[in-house]
């Protein structure tokens, strides 16, 4: 995707007459959704979101105005709105900021890919989705067989009055296959997702068919399976559930804007206190968690955040001890805590806030068989289905699509509706085994903020073993 030329220099020069600092973030994002359901086309849609966020620093307060009119007069009108409102609100600002929170940055970023998404034809995509839908047609009990792909191409160009000029280009994919088996009043769904910064090389018909057939078979297995047993037992979580566990019980509570109270009225606060950094034994010594924006193909990789801060890998938790929060330069100066480059916005019409990016659990030393072999009585769970956690990020309850009992170190029969619940710090201190083979997952739909924003995050993790967890099944 090419950057377009906008008259940023003239607009910034004029804005600087009335402000201490100014910037323009141009964003263009094309999102294409294609879906096949039961061997028929269900939807073929695309959207182009293109506009500019004009940002000003007036009286120590950053304020914003968004416009899709990219002419010089359009940008000037947006700056006028931002200046007028920010001038009126700066007397009530939460903190006196300076241009130090917007360092000068120059550079470019481009998602790793073998084949550009633009080179992919509609027919090629449709063929893969159709092949997947057809591969799931194993039984009349499979009442819903869907294959969907979301392709995202994003260009973010950032220009500031102190000389920043960054240009970042992203290619992202979110592919989901799902099979629902139903009989009588019972139904079970099994899914497979492939999410990250990829190009057209991801559309491999054979891989689509292989995974489609597998999940269809597993959905039929679930339909006939017993409910997951209830009680306290050991729990092995596979990477496609670890993703959710990391996201909800590590990522969100470590966001410094939550800890500072910005998010209290919406997603919530955090049990983590400012004084916990450097001290809190968040989990067992096996727990090492990183913020890693440089991991190729992970969904939230980038070189610069939306405040021009260069993104680098940082350790958040080392040997179970909390070290660093997920806070932008604004949150860092407000809290006095170390943070990361995570000042991110969802679109041209939203201001950046502290967001997760790639939050990864570092690999350990065990094979999956070794993890299972350590379990006398327990369950292995795959693929998130249900998620809920309190507004301080303590009490969670998560459910998975697919469970398998473990007895005396051996993986056994399939169980349906597997769920577990716990309290964050207690749960992570029950971590007793970390696999050595990590998988990378992510979601394009993390919601947060006022006004609200949906953003993309990545989570890489190996399978993990937790001891003595409250597990339960369904009622049906």
């Amino acid at each position: 995707m090419l950057s377009i030329s906008i008259p940023h220099e003239q607009a910034l020069q004029r804005a600087l007459q009335f402000t201490d600092w100014a910037a323009i973030r141009y964003s263009s994002e094309t999102t294409t959704h294609r879906m096949v359901r039961n061997d028929r086309p269900e939807s073929n849609e695309s959207s182009l979101e293109e506009g500019a966020m004009c940002e000003v620093l007036v009286g120590g307060h950053f304020g914003y105005a968004a416009t899709a009119d990219l002419s010089l007069s359009g940008l000037q009108r947006a700056f006028d709105r931002a200046i007028a409102t920010t001038r009126a609100t700066s007397a009530h600002k939460v903190h006196a900021f300076t241009p130090d929170q917007r360092p000068r940055a120059t550079g470019t970023y481009c998602s790793a890919r073998d084949r550009d998404l633009d080179a992919l034809s509609v027919a090629e995509i449709t063929d893969c989705l159709m092949a997947a839908s057809q591969a799931m047609r194993l039984s009349d009990l499979l009442v819903n067989r869907s294959a969907r792909a979301m392709l995202v191409q994003t260009q973010i160009d950032y220009f500031s009055s102190n000389g920043s000029e960054t240009r970042q280009s992203f290619n992202m994919l979110d592919i989901t296959l799902a099979a629902t088996a139903a009989e009588g009043l019972e139904s079970q769904t099994r899914s497979w997702s492939y999410t990250g910064q990829f190009g057209g090389e991801a559309f491999d018909r054979a891989i689509f068919q292989e995974n489609a057939e597998r999940i269809a078979r597993e959905a039929l297995d679930l339909l006939r399976a017993d409910n997951c047993p209830s009680g306290r037992m050991d729990l092995v979580l596979m990477p496609d559930q670890m993703m959710l566990q990391i996201h909800e019980s590590i990522g969100h509570p470590l966001e410094l804007d939550r800890i500072l109270g910005d998010e209290r009225n919406y997603a919530g606060w955090s049990f983590v206190k400012q004084e916990d950094f450097g001290h809190l034994q968040y989990g067992s010594p096996l727990m090492n968690v990183s913020f890693d924006p440089g991991r190729a193909h992970e969904l939230a990789s980038y070189d610069f955040d939306d405040g021009g801060n260069r993104a680098t890998r940082e350790m958040l938790i080392e040997y179970g001890v909390l070290k660093r929060g997920l806070g932008s330069l604004e949150s860092q100066v407000r809290s006095g805590l170390p943070g990361v480059a995570n000042f991110r916005s969802a679109s041209w019409n939203r201001a950046p806030i502290d967001r997760m990016a790639n939050i990864n659990l570092e690999p350990g030393t065990s094979s999956l068989d070794e993890l299972i072999g350590q379990v006398e009585h327990g369950v292995l769970m795959r693929t998130n289905r249900s998620w809920s956690i309190d507004d301080y990020r303590n009490k969670f309850q998560f459910g998975c699509e697919y469970g398998q009992l473990i007895e005396n170190g051996v993986l056994g029969k399939v169980v349906r509706n597997p769920n577990y619940r716990g309290v964050t710090v207690d749960f992570w201190n029950r971590l007793d085994g970390v696999g050595r083979a990590a998988e990378t997952h992510g979601t394009a739909f993390c919601g947060k903020g006022e006004p609200s924003q949906i953003i993309r995050v990545g989570h890489a993790s190996p399978p993990c073993l937790f001891r003595d967890v409250e597990v339960f099944g369904g009622l049906s």
């Binding site: 709105r81 600002k93 507004d391």
Partner: protein, 452 residues
Amino acid sequence: MSAAIRREDFIDRVREHFNTLSSYLLSQLNVDEELTINVAAEESLFVRFNSNRVRQNTDVEQIGISVRLQSKGRTVEKSRSLGGNAEADRPALMHLLAQCRDEVAVLPLDPNQVSIENNGTSSEEFRGTLLAAEDVVGAVVSPAAGCDLAGLYAGGIVIRGNCNSKGQRHWFATETFFLDYSIYNGPQAAKGCYAGARWSSAEWKSNLGRTQTLLALLAKPQQDVKPGAYRTYLAPRAFADLLGMLGWGALSAAAWKQGRSPFKKLAENETRLSPLLSIDENFALGLTPRFNDLGEMSATRLPLIEEGALKTLLVSSRTAKEYDLGANGASEGEGPRAMDVKTGALAEADVLQALGTGLYLSNLHYLNWSDPVSARVTGMTRYACFWVEGGEIVGPIRDLRWDESLYSALGSKLMALTTHAEIDPAVDTYYRRALGGSRTPGALIDDFSFTL
């Protein structure tokens, strides 16, 4: 600096722009093509507060347009943001149309395609009296001096428009605000929302005063409530949170037919809910336009659940075509847009007495299906929630996790609904300010299950 654009001008400007562009696009169609065009626009000021101070302020002006081309039995939809200048936007839209045509040429047949019809015309505009952008912060924070207030003010104009190649044309514009907020006493908080079309300082002070009264109750000694089953009162906002799950596939005809509905037993008359429960889609609440993205009009009042029995699911025309059902003006997502729950017989003044001993919940948080086949939902308590004994509030509780089937909570366990109901306006701001909302009473539920 140029003078600020008056808000009224935005409605006029977008209407004229939409008319100009849509007329042009429709004139460019070939004989075998049909087109549906939607516009969604807003001119909004967002101000985020923390500690009764401003964290961020963002002005947003956006116009988004979508075109759905139906041709040769294929369907393609594309949308884009517009700059608002006809000379620039006209070729941009022609490019969208050309892209649609390119895809129509290679896509498979869409057997569930719904023919475009002329569903008539409508036009509604609701003007408000909002604060000038420069006055918002002072008006909010002055009465709240001394409060630890966090929240979001969002105000301005929201527009939805629709037309198609059969001559259909709909227009809806409204000028409103909301202040969705919470106030804090250390870790304890009470939630409030002040919304409307005319800002009144007296109303804001009164609204804040009620929330402060609730917050004051949190100063009582905290109660340690163990997991278990308790009689529970869900205040209207909490009950709205619980019923919000009906929008997660429970009332969707497509979800039912595709094996994804948590209300399959209800849809197939294997069970029914409490006779106390009646729920309508009620567009007379005026919260959202009656027309959907295809311009189809829902009935002003559409009974969904009547005295516990399912009256109808929400059926979009696409679902109706695929499964040979009758469409009822539902949007493609088949979720309620203007849910109105019939009130009951429990007077507000009698709530605590009727509760006796149990839990009073003001708000719920982060709900999700925990076992969809059983319509089981999990979630948390949030904000001002209390332990009650002998009809008296004893003190606030620590947040509790609950896990309960809607078949039970809205069925045999539902003891009473209150005589008063509250409107819960949509305060969603993902992508753009949402329209819609619901009106719900409070609900008294026996043996509500708390798990952690």
